[in-house]
Amino acid sequence: MDYGVSDAAGGNRQYRAIKILLAGGFGVGKTTLVGAVSEIRPLRTEEPLTEGSLHTDSTFGVEGKTTTTVAMDFGRISLRRDLVLYLFGTPGQQRFWFMWDELAIGALGAVVLADTRRLADSFPAIDYFERRQIPFIVALNCFEGAVRYETEDVRLALDLDPDMPIILCDARSKDSAKEVLITLVEHVLVTASEEPLSGIA
């Protein structure tokens, strides 16, 4: 049996939930961006800390803690009744990779939201997506008072491929947030077209 969405005409269409990831350091505007383009909803995850995260994260004061609660930014955009985008914003630090590993499976792609004043905060996220070959783009949130850099300077600083989209955005603006998502989907489409056919040549 198929658990699709029944429409008014009695038809049965498969419900498609599509994940888009939004990564970036603390305070970079992930919540703002999700809120600008979708209805933001509460979502918490509480996971046991692994031995590894206890050791690598000694400065966080989690010694003796066995679980950690993380609030995710979670937004839903209904494009159609049977086609819904799910935005998941997660912190960029390594210790949250337990969340990313599952979020990334089957995801359309990712947006790395960066602040030019703290570009290094976006390194772990970029490394993560590159290593796992998850298509992503970089969006620079233009904070007031921050020096505007040319995107090409940022590309150099982040060591990104020439065809990797880098766009400037204002996370508070719906249109701008929309443009970020559109840029990602376009990038994924282009990447999909360029991919050589699999198999042995």
Binding site: Y3, R16, R41, E46, L83, L85, Y86, I182, A192
Partner: protein, 123 residues
């Protein structure tokens, strides 16, 4: 005889530990794993409300229409880990079916990508 680690979490201890008290201290669910955007739907099987915790009943009610795991966790306002265990319990009881998202099977196809693009442009 429970081990020292488990002594707080036996059935009679009551909710001394939040929120995993709801799961009798379990942090891992049983059975096949499921994605955050996997769709959950309640079966028509009879459920005895007295045999289920209020949280299990809330989850079951939300799943009367196909709903994703993430949506359920957000609506009942419980951590995902807890909701997963509740869902796995309900699945074991035959009260819900959890199906893999369509797009998980393989990469999202170009047709779907174009639909997403058009949808976003029309927002």
């Amino acid at each position: 005889m429970p081990s020292n680690d488990e002594r707080w979490l036996d059935a009679e201890a009551g909710p001394v530990v939040r929120p995993y008290a709801l799961t009798q201290g379990r942090t891992r669910h049983t059975g096949e794993s499921f994605d955050l955007v996997a769709t959950v739907v309640a079966t028509r099987s009879f459920a005895d409300p007295a045999a289920l915790a209020p949280e299990h009943i809330s989850v079951l009610q939300l799943a009367r229409v196909p709903t994703t795991v993430a949506d359920i966790a957000s609506d009942v306002d419980l951590p995902l880990g807890v909701v997963r265990i509740i869902l796995a319990d309900l699945r074991e009881l035959g009260l819900v079916v959890i199906s893999t998202p369509v797009v998980m099977a393989e990469r999202i196809d170009k047709h779907t990508l174009r639909e997403v693009l058009n949808g976003l442009r029309g927002l």
